[in-house]
């Protein structure tokens, strides 16, 4: 009987407590102890409900008590004490701590508003920190779920001359690395393709990975069922992901049977573990089927191909023991240098290899955003602590009489500090408990919105998160507890009892004010960050991508190379598909293009033309599509024509930026350029048209130079072709009709990735929007907290100065003057905070720069708006206490005591 969830928790808790046992105990008895528990657990099957309910609590209590006993005395505990237990002497630290805690508890219960405000403030601060930390922990700190993940590296190519930072490499390159790089114990590669899972009623497009047979061994991942690939496995051997096995086969026993991909059978030898993902910067998060490379690509010799056009592999490596990443990089540089010498195309492109720890590549996209948010919540916590510290200062002020009395009666300064710290401790623990609850909810939310694009791991609170929260709790106690405690204990001894009831100490007032100024400054920094992101998001929405994505439906089809002879049959299929869909009601036009703008897929290569010839080669995005793609996507023609009846193999349409770069001041139409879209070597194309620039990739980047080729004669198989449909109504409502049309054309070709372009664009802005939303929340909380802090200090000051204000009124000051006096005082604090904060913001917002779009990190409008907002908040927070100051009852405050 395997343990259930509750029992697993119990076992984990016992394991946690065991960490605090003496080392030799753990070494000698930990495994025996777990076996004991396991034996008891199994015996529990026949026990009654009460015994079962009490089982884990009993074991835990036993473990904790034993731990305390083992830690408390080193002496033998086998012998009893015939004269009864020793009673702890009075005044021993432990006894006094206990009584202090009880005293603090009573004192806090007597001041419920104060206690609640502090606990809620701390809870908010700690909760936000825990939530963000749980994301940081899960995404950045947790090791990847492979064997010895710290020795795994990812390998990619880059083309220095062509300005390509991170891309694929070819099979021969892999062989060269294997032969030449001693620092790599193992090396494997993957390339993803799209195929159709057929043989069932509704075909499904799946992501298939061609893999080296040693890939899973390299990662140290063993299949849940069956076996992994072994050397010599023939093409046609496949493994399924757990998810596809469940979804497509209902979890039936499929080992030894076949799966149909585009009508061809593949032997299933194994099922990968549930949730297994191959994490790499250049791979989709989820692959459904893994297989040995097929014979129909390069005659199955995927590892023998060489050259830029055959660069389709993503590499994984395991470092040899004792080798370092620097040594590895050095040997890879050598390999690249040799390849550049041997292969002219590599020399022209400036081939080099990028080796980085696998983990770095995986987290590369989200690291910046996460660390930014982590810093922001850290600020919120500081503000919260400052607020609480202010409250504590005010409170210790009102208790100074009591403390002075204690000191006068012989209480040591240490004991006074201990007493005050006991209170801080209780508050911090309360805040931490609340914060853990809020943090849990927060981390669920973050997981729900999928922070961390490449399928984040589980965000659940584990030991690390708990330890983090405990650490924050201790930090809070020290921050807001120790300073007031030290101050109060110092003050308590030095002044006569009678004097204590007067005004606050100068030093303490200064501390109050410093805290408020710091809070305002921190809020300014946060608000500026949030403001800059808002400005960016607004700018992002205003960006014109160069085509009209509203009302556009897009989906993909993948034609099997085993049944479709390219190019004639695939061309014919795409043409028929366009014709069939065009007849559907609600469809304005249809076009095929690859890659579709904004879907994250890209395809780039070099070209030579006009002025470009003279200098280095230029790099352009290549697109292939049917003639109707321009009309369907709404790409504006500027000059010449688009594809027509001319021989499609000889013509090209270029984007405005290509025309301007290659033939500045001249007409591009009629000129010739050289390009190599199909990997068969460079050939000449005549420019027949110029179209407007389109942003195919990141909206935040300038539009890429683009060459459009006619797909006729070049359409592909085993690859997703994007079909774009311009619709007149709601794009998604057409999906069923299109699916039906497709099935009549070929019942084994499914429609995949059907989505409106609007939702793609929304996704694209997702990270920015989420970062903005969270930063906005943090800034909002910070503003409120700073406002409360300012209000608290001003109210307190007004209370302290009542007598002075009364005298002023009695001597003839106008109530208006009093208002101005108090407001002016608050304004000085606010302005000081704002000034400091603006300096901080200028220094810190530059870390935001890579999230900003068409907004500079020192955007004046944002800075002005934030300053205005804080001054308003500051004045509002001061106004209420100031009004109260004008209503001071002169007779009352001046009455002799």
């Amino acid at each position: 009987m395997p343990p259930n969830r509750r029992e697993r928790l119990g076992i984990r808790l016992v394991g946690f407590v065991l960490r605090f046992f003496p080392d030799d105990f753990r070494r000698n008895h930990a495994s025996e102890l777990f076996e004991f528990i396991e034996a008891e657990r199994l015996r529990l099957g026949g026990a009654g409900p009460v015994a079962r309910l009490l089982f884990w609590p009993r074991i835990l209590v036993d473990t904790v008590r034993t731990c305390l006993r083992l830690r408390a005395d080193g002496a033998t505990h086998l012998l009893g004490r015939p004269r009864g237990g020793r009673i702890r002497a009075r005044g021993q630290p432990l006894a006094s701590v206990w009584s202090d805690l009880r005293y603090a508890w009573r004192a806090l219960r007597a001041a419920p508003v104060f206690s609640c405000v502090v606990v809620v403030t701390l809870g908010l601060g700690i909760g936000m920190n825990t939530a963000i930390f749980s994301a940081v922990n899960a995404v950045l700190l947790q090791p990847l779920p492979y064997d010895r993940p710290e020795t795994l590296v990812s390998i990619a190519a880059r083309y220095v001359s062509d300005d390509v930072d991170y891309t694929h490499f070819a099979g021969r390159d892999l062989i060269s690395m294997k032969e030449r790089v001693a620092g790599l114990a193992e090396l494997a590669a993957v390339t993803p393709i799209r195929q159709n899972l057929t043989g069932s009623e509704t075909p499904e497009q799946v992501r298939v990975g061609w893999v080296s047979t040693n890939l899973f061994q390299l990662l140290g991942v063993t299949p849940s069922f069956g076996r992994g690939f072994v050397d010599g496995d023939p093409p046609g051997t496949a493994m399924l992901s757990y998810e596809l096995w469940q979804r497509g086969f209902g979890g039936d026993d499929v080992l030894g049977t076949t799966v149909q991909l585009d009508g061809y059978p593949y032997n299933i030898v194994g099922i990968m573990p549930r949730g297994f993902q191959l994490r790499h910067r250049l791979l989709p998060a989820q692959l459904d089927i893994w297989k040995v490379p097929d014979t129909w690509w390069q005659n199955g010799d995927i590892w023998g191909a060489e050259g830029v056009e055959y660069s389709i592999l993503r590499g994984f490596g395991r470092m040899a023991p004792g080798s370092s990443i620097e040594a590895l990089r050095e040997s890879m540089r050598q390999v690249a240098a040799d390849l550049r010498q041997r292969v002219p195309a590599y020399a022209e492109a400036g081939l080099d290899f990028v080796v980085e720890p696998l983990h770095d590549g995986v987290v590369h996209e989200v690291r910046g955003t996460l660390l930014l948010l982590f810093a922001a919540v850290g600020f919120v916590l500081l503000i919260a602590c400052a607020n609480v510290m202010n409250l504590m200062l005010v409170r210790s002020q009102s208790r100074s009489g009591e403390l002075a009395l204690r000191v006068a009666l012989g209480c040591s300064r240490l004991r006074v500090i201990q007493l005050l710290l006991a209170e801080s401790f209780m508050l911090a623990v309360g805040g931490t408990v609340l914060g853990l609850g809020l943090g849990r909810a927060g981390s669920r939310f973050l997981q729900w919105v999928n922070l961390g694009s490449a399928g984040p791991p589980d965000f659940s609170s584990d030991g690390t998160v708990l330890a983090f929260a405990a650490g924050v709790c201790v930090l809070c106690i020290l921050l807001f507890g120790l300073v007031p405690a030290l101050g109060a204990s110092r003050g308590a001894g030095n002044r006569p009892l009678a004097a204590v009831r007067g005004g606050a100490g100068i030093a303490r007032q200064r501390l109050n004010r410093t805290l408020v100024v710091a809070q305002i400054a921190l809020s300014i920094v946060l608000l500026t960050g949030a403001g800059l992101l808002t400005a960016s998001l607004v700018a992002l929405h205003k960006i014109q991508p160069g085509f009209d994505y509203h009302g556009l439906l897009t989906f993909t089809v993948s034609l099997p190379g085993t049944r479709y002879e390219r190019p004639l049959e695939t061309d014919a299929f795409l043409q028929r598909l366009e014709e069939r869909i065009e007849t559907l009601p609600g469809v304005a036009s249809v076009g095929v293009i690859w890659p579709m703008p904004l879907t994250g897929r890209s395809w780039s290569s070099v070209y030579m033309a006009g002025r470009v010839d003279e200098g280095a080669r230029a790099y352009a995005g290549y697109r292939v599509g049917t003639p109707s793609m321009f009309e369907t996507l709404g790409i504006r023609p500027l000059d010449g024509a688009t594809f027509g009846s001319r021989d499609p193999l000889e013509v090209v349409v270029v984007s405005k930026s290509v025309a301007e770069r290659a033939w500045p001041g001249q007409r591009a139409v009629g000129k010739t350029l050289t390009a190599d879209p199909w990997g068969g070597g460079f050939r000449s194309f005549e420019v027949i048209g110029v179209v407007d620039d389109v942003k195919f990739g990141d909206l935040r980047l300038p539009a890429e130079e683009t060459l459009y080729f006619d797909s006729k004669g070049w359409s592909w198989t085993d690859w997703e072709m994007n079909v774009a449909v311009r619709t007149e109504g709601s794009p998604e409502s057409l999906i069923p009709a299109i699916r039906a049309e497709l099935l009549t054309l070929d019942p084994e070709i499914p429609i995949a990735d059907a989505q409106s372009m609007d939702s793609y664009v929304t996704q694209l802005m997702g990270t920015n929007r989420l970062a903005l939303f969270l930063l906005g929340c943090f800034a909002g909380v910070a503003l409120v907290l700073a406002g409360i802090g300012l209000y608290g200090v001003m109210s307190y000051t007004v209370n302290q100065r009542q007598r002075e204000l009364g005298i002023r009124l009695a001597l003839g000051s106008e109530r208006r003057d009093i208002l101005a006096l108090v407001l002016g005082h608050g304004l000085v604090l606010t302005v000081a905070g704002v000034a400091l904060g603006l300096v901080g913001a200028v220094l810190l917002t530059r870390f935001l720069e890579n999230l900003l779009v068409e907004t500079t990190a020192t955007d004046p409008a944002t800075f002005v708006a934030v300053t205005f907002l804080l001054l308003t908040t500051g004045l509002t927070a001061c106004y209420v206490p100031a009004r109260r100051a004008t209503r001071v009852n002169v007779a009352h405050v001046l009455r002799p005591e």
Partner: protein, 122 residues
């Protein structure tokens, strides 16, 4: 039974220690075996928690009262490959005897005062 001078009347064993020593008196046992034997012998009035048991074992090992020994030949290793068997050392046996002797003295004294009859356990 003439080890009177060896017994320090101030030194008494805790019940847990006494029962563990008793349980090991007739041969080696593993930790869980000790627990089952004690529970059985005391008819469930003394149940040992895992940490308490191993704490006592840990301390007794350090004090040299018990030691790890080979498992009995008829015991199959099976899944309990972490199981260690313990047996009494000479010192452990001496401690047990001293405690039993002390208890016996008390019982004798109580009987002489006719505090309980021998025939019926209370």
């Amino acid at each position: 039974m003439t080890t009177r001078e060896a017994v320090n009347p101030r030194q008494i064993l805790t019940p847990v220690a006494l029962h563990i020593l008793l349980s090991l008196a007739d041969g080696e046992r593993h930790g869980y075996g000790i627990k089952l034997e004690v529970e059985d012998r005391t008819r469930g009035s003394l149940t040992l928690g895992p940490a308490t048991l191993y704490e006592a074992i840990h301390r007794m090992e350090k004090a040299g009262w018990i030691e790890v020994t080979d498992p009995p030949p008829n015991e199959s290793p099976g899944r309990g490959n972490h199981r260690k068997y313990y047996c009494l050392t000479t010192e452990g046996r001496r401690q047990l005897h001293a405690e039993l002797h002390r208890l016996n003295e008390i019982v004798r004294f109580a009987k002489s005062k006719k505090l309980f009859s021998e025939s019926r356990p209370s």
